[in-house]
């Protein structure tokens, strides 16, 4: 107990400084963390928060996610996952784990590497970066039948975490944030882009239902929709190609768990069909994040199909 106390008071000063310094570089040089301050970066903010909710879903803790675009250019992402922990963080007494997560950049080298390797529109930079670049962020956590709330502005807590009271039949995390105009100017989030983002996450992970809602008028985008693709990529591909002729009635599709096949974490899912009606495409993803430049997973996929069709032709 004594050890714990003395150890704690020692880290207290250092930690408080670290939090302040922690998010400052993000605001100073947003490009290093989200690849710029353009429209792509702005939408990346939403993808980031959505990816956190998706992580909960992929890990099997959530099956419903809501994405809502509000009229004032703020966004709410809600999941029914485990909820970000709210108890005091052992290393930072007086701070909730929630606050530590949202106000501290992740560990050094790995983080910067990750941020770099994915900054072109991919994820992995953490919700703290979104927090730093939002002039208002409010996080609600429903956990153990209690509702908690904490708000931040530009990465700094507006006050300690609040207990809003008991709550039934609900759990999970709700994040609402408003991208800071100081960083992003007057650019606004585009409903069409977020709609597609929400839909892609749903077909990439069949276990999740994503509800979309937008208060921003756009003639080409529904203001409400529910995405759920129990049959995953195959279902989405069939829908996409429903209006054109295809050579196979149902696409060649499947899913293989790497755990079962190779005893390592991971999986692969695919769907392909051939059509004389249009040019082909391959949309590939890694951990639900698009990989427009392809990579090793695509090579493996084409190698398999190429060898397969040649072997079949040889009979």
């Amino acid at each position: 107990m004594n050890d714990l106390l003395s150890g704690a008071s020692q880290t207290y000063d250092a930690s408080s400084i670290e939090v302040l310094e922690g998010l400052e570089p993000v605001r100073k040089r947003p490009g290093m963390y989200i690849g710029g301050t353009d429209e792509r970066a702005l939408h990346h903010m939403v993808a980031e928060i959505l990816d956190n909710a998706m992580d909960e879903a992929v890990a099997g803790h959530a099956n419903r996610i809501e994405l809502e675009l509000h009229a004032d250019n703020s966004v709410t992402v809600r999941d029914n996952g485990r909820g970000i922990p709210v108890d005091p963080h052992p290393k930072f007494p007086g701070k909730s784990a929630l606050e530590v997560i949202l106000c501290t950049l992740h560990a050094g080298g790995k983080f910067s590497n990750k941020a770099y390797s994915t900054s072109g529109g991919l994820n992995g930079v953490g919700s703290s970066v979104v927090n730093a670049l939002s002039d208002l962020m409010t996080v609600q956590v429903a956990l153990n039948k209690e509702l908690y709330e904490q708000s931040f502005s530009r990465g700094i807590p507006k006050g300690p975490i609040q207990k809003l009271g008991p709550i039934q039949n609900r759990r999970g995390t709700t994040v609402t944030f408003h991208p800071d105009p100081e960083i992003f100017g007057h650019q606004t989030l585009k409903p069409a882009r977020l709609y597609k983002l929400a839909r892609s996450k749903a077909y990439l992970f069949s276990g999740v239902e994503i509800r979309w809602k937008s208060a921003v008028a756009d003639p080409d985008t529904p203001s409400e929709a529910t995405f759920h693709y129990p049959a995953g990529l195959a279902q989405y591909l069939t829908e996409t190609l429903s209006k054109i002729t295809t050579y196979a009635e149902r696409p060649f599709a499947g899913r293989v768990s790497f755990e079962e096949k190779y005893q390592i974490p991971g999986s692969v899912e695919w769907a392909i069909n051939w059509t004389p009606a249009q040019d082909g495409f391959l949309h590939s993803y890694c951990n639900t994040v698009p990989t427009p430049e392809g990579g090793t997973h695509e090579s493996g996929f084409w190698a398999a199909t190429l060898k397969g069709i040649k072997a079949y032709g040889r009979g």
């Binding site: 499947g254 079949y312 032709g313």
Partner: protein
């Protein structure tokens, strides 16, 4: 033997008409590439291949009718491709005889298109240091004199007469408008390299407008890039470094470079002020440079068209209106 020509099929044939979605979940993936969105986790290739392969064989065997149709289709595609290549080769033989390259072009020596780059540079002086900085084998240079014609304000006859535009077309080996074929491109990457100032930005936007209106597929297929030359050189004693913008400059000025004495700041007025080695390290060497790939937002394709017309088009009132509407967004003007 279902189709003896199956061996002709290549990966490219699979993709013509093959509509596919692929999603992997792996732990700690790594990414590379100019925009860092190509998966480079090596094991993933084998994992995916082995996982898909068995299923594919089963699937093909289970539905011989679909499998046969796909096989025949792919063989057809392969044959078509081979025929096209043959035609093209004969064409090329006659074409190379006639191929006229603009006098200002410093071509690269590579015989194939793969890996080659054409730098379109602003002014002959920049062209000079770029010549020393380039890789002879893969990097070609085309210096432009001053600002090119704004194509949105020009009639097509004027386009054909404009010597700068003709030089670009000849250097690229392509024609404009509907006769543009992305396969004709003589280089894999077209890189616009202008000074990091307002004039440079203007020239770059004129060039982008040209490519956008006359050679759109070149952008769609990801061949067009912008080089990112530094704006400042900071020197402190023996330490020296290049920075891209004011924010970064301030940061280093505050922090110091680790050398002795005061920090000397040189602002580059043009690429020509840099010596070849510096230009190579900062802007041209693929291993150390940064490039911006020019892309058109898929979802806002129509918007892009509209905006280009408004900003670069013939009607000043539209431009004026846009500036009026958006002026409040612009906080800093570099004039």
């Amino acid at each position: 033997m279902k189709n003896r020509k199956a061996d002709l099929i290549t990966r490219d044939d699979l993709l013509t008409g093959g509509c596919a979605l692929l999603s992997v979940f792996i732990r700690e993936p790594s990414f590379v590439g100019q925009t860092k969105d190509r998966l480079s986790t090596e094991e993933a290739a084998k994992w995916v291949e082995n996982a898909v392969r068995d299923h594919f064989d089963t699937w093909l065997a289970a539905d011989p009718r679909s499998a046969g149709a796909i096989l025949d289709f792919l063989v057809l595609r392969a044959e078509e491709r081979l025929r096209r290549r043959e035609e093209k080769e004969t064409q090329r033989k006659t074409a190379t005889k006639k191929l006229r390259l603009p006098g200002k072009l410093t071509d690269c020596s590579s015989k194939t298109r793969e890996g080659t780059e054409l730098f379109i540079v602003e002014g002959d002086s920049a062209g000079g240091s770029a010549k020393g900085a380039r890789s002879r084998e893969t990097q070609a240079l085309l210096p432009l004199k001053g600002k090119i014609l704004n194509v949105l304000g020009a009639a097509s006859a004027k386009l054909n007469e404009n010597s700068e535009i003709r030089d670009i077309c000849e250097a690229l080996g392509v024609q404009m408008g509907t006769r543009f074929k992305v396969d004709d491109l003589r280089y894999e990457k077209i890189i616009i390299m202008t000074d990091a100032d307002v004039d440079g930005a203007h020239i770059a936007s004129l060039l982008m407008t040209f490519f956008f209106t006359q050679m759109r597929p070149l952008i769609d297929k990801g061949h067009l890039y912008l080089a990112c030359p530094p704006l400042y050189r900071l020197t402190q004693g023996a330490r020296r470094m290049y920075v891209a913008d004011d924010a970064e400059k301030e940061e280093w000025l505050a922090k110091g470079l680790g050398g002795k004495g005061k920090i000397d700041v040189q602002r580059f007025k043009g690429l020509g002020e840099m010596d070849a080695k510096d230009l190579k390290d900062t802007t041209m060497n693929p291993a150390t440079r940064k490039l911006i790939r020019v892309m058109i937002d898929d979802e806002a394709g129509g918007e892009t068209n509209d905006l280009v017309e408004r900003l670069m088009g013939k009607k000043p009132e539209l431009r004026f209106q846009y500036i009026q509407e958006n002026a409040r967004f612009v906080e800093e003007l570099d004039v």
